[in-house]
Symmetry: C2
Subunit: 304 residues, 2 copies
């Protein structure tokens, strides 16, 4: 029994109104696996890096009990690199540099020891590669969660629709839900998207929280209002990782557990944005996490 | 003991992607008093119309138990008229016509029978007139709620700041909170605005719900995800009217009751947008209202 996370493990250079970083470790699989590791101790990653990736950086996964057997290290090649600059409102950003490097020919390898995968997190990556991972699992995982973005809707919609058919939970933001469905109303968008394959749809609305849809029900989760968002990079990946990590821990998939999983994912995402990169996410205590979850309870509860 | 609502009673001509109306009855005081009347039977309005306003339209207030002694009817003058066209996303609109008419020299008269006012709703209107109403109350009401908009921040900021000092609860949208405070973060904006006078601030976020702030606490209320928004006109006024009407009914002002008041106000606002103008709002049963409130409970509850 394990939770396998596929996605990028990469270098980011980030500029926000609060400062800028050199190359730091980032990537969807990094954020998602770190987040999942707070709830589930059998988290394993599938990803690729170049030999510019330092041993200490890889050791950081081990410190969180994350299995890196599926992390390929390509000799003589460089890791995926992304550089971006956030605008003052932190809701929009410019990509300054994208160097695909090792990602250009990424052929995901699923180690034999990963074939016990019950929970599969497909972090943001080309839909083709996401699909390959599903196909390489000898037994279909109990739950497949997929994160994606508008970029793939622009350039690989057919692949994306193929992959969406094979999954259980899709996580996208509100603009992406509108783009994917061609509907402005999120309720109508959700109805259309649920007909494309997934049984559950999570629409991430950033500072406005998230919506969970299945055929019959909707759950509206709040976001924690924050005085400062220091660096939003990886918040969506952290949310998704926390979400699936919590579900792997409780081991039972139903709407009620999904609601809680969204709260736990949102709690971790709210930590993620407090510092640059994974800095905050790497060093949380269980008490910090449970206190933050309680803040979500206090924030949204009422008794009628 | 009564709830006095001041604001516009007016004609609107509305165009949305779903259709358009001739001149129909609208105005902040109309929506707010109708909403309040579902919870509280001592609702009274202060407003002004011209003699183009029909007797049937005035009778509609009476049918909801709303006292119109404070509704001035100006002979030989015309009622305030607004015409607007909503864009496809329903979140933005163009004003086509604004005819101030009777509103140009509106001097609010508070009938003696209104001096038992405990709850005062200052609907969107010039801050100067809102202030006059407060001053003409012989005894300060127990709770003063004020709604306003960016227009007054643009042209009458000093008056607005003067009036805000005198109230208990301010309701504005997120863009207006940012404009009023000069802060992008809504948490920082709220801290600044609470220092301007009000003890409570409600930030309305439309389809993303609402936030209630006081010095120590924050409450995040969901919005009901709707498949169709037919006509958003008056939703904010309806929300504010439902909010203060519910508080007048329970009669005790604390954070917990305010949270419920926001849910009740949101429930009425969710009806308001389902048809043109006040059509839906005029004909709700108690069961429809309580069922809708239950939808809000189901939408946002989770158990950790």
């Amino acid at each position: 029994m394990s939770l396998v996370v596929i996605g990028t493990v990469a270098f980011d250079a980030i500029e926000t109104p609060f400062g800028k970083t050199e190359k730091i470790v980032g990537g969807a699989a990094t954020y998602a696996s770190l987040a999942a590791s707070y709830f589930y101790d059998q988290t394993k990653i599938v990803a690729v890096v170049g030999d510019d990736f330092k041993k200490e950086d890889i050791d950081d996964f081990g410190k969180h009990g994350i299995d890196v057997e599926g992390l390929q290290i390509k000799k003589g090649e460089k890791s995926f690199f992304w550089s971006g600059k956030y605008h003052n409102d932190m809701n929009s950003r410019d990509t300054l540099i994208t160097e695909l490097n090792v990602l250009e020919n990424f052929d995901p390898i699923i180690p034999e020891s990963y074939q016990d995968c019950e929970y599969l997190m497909l972090g943001n990556l080309t839909p083709q590669v996401q699909q390959t991972v599903i196909k390489r699992m000898k037994k279909r995982p109990k739950l497949i969660v997929m994160d994606t973005m508008n970029f793939w809707m622009d350039i690989a919609m057919d692949d994306l629709l193929e992959t969406i058919k094979m999954i259980d939970v899709l996580t996208i933001n509100d603009a992406e839900a509108r783009q994917l469905s061609g509907e402005y109303s999120l309720v109508k968008a959700a109805h259309k998207i649920l007909k494309m394959g997934p049984k559950y749809l999570i629409i991430k609305k950033g500072e406005h929280g998230a919506l969970l849809f299945n055929e019959d029900s909707i759950f509206s989760a709040p976001a924690l209002p924050l005085a400062d968002v220091f660096d939003p990079t990886g918040a969506g990946d952290t949310f998704a990782g926390g979400f699936i990590g919590y579900l792997a821990k409780v081991g039972s998939i139903n709407f009620s557990n999904m609601k809680n999983a969204i709260i736990y994912g949102s709690a971790l995402a709210s930590f993620c944005v407090e510092k640059f990169g994974t800095e905050k996410l790497k060093n949380l205590s269980d008490k910090e996490v449970s206190d933050r979850v309680q803040e979500f309870v206090d924030l949204s509860s009422f008794t009628i």
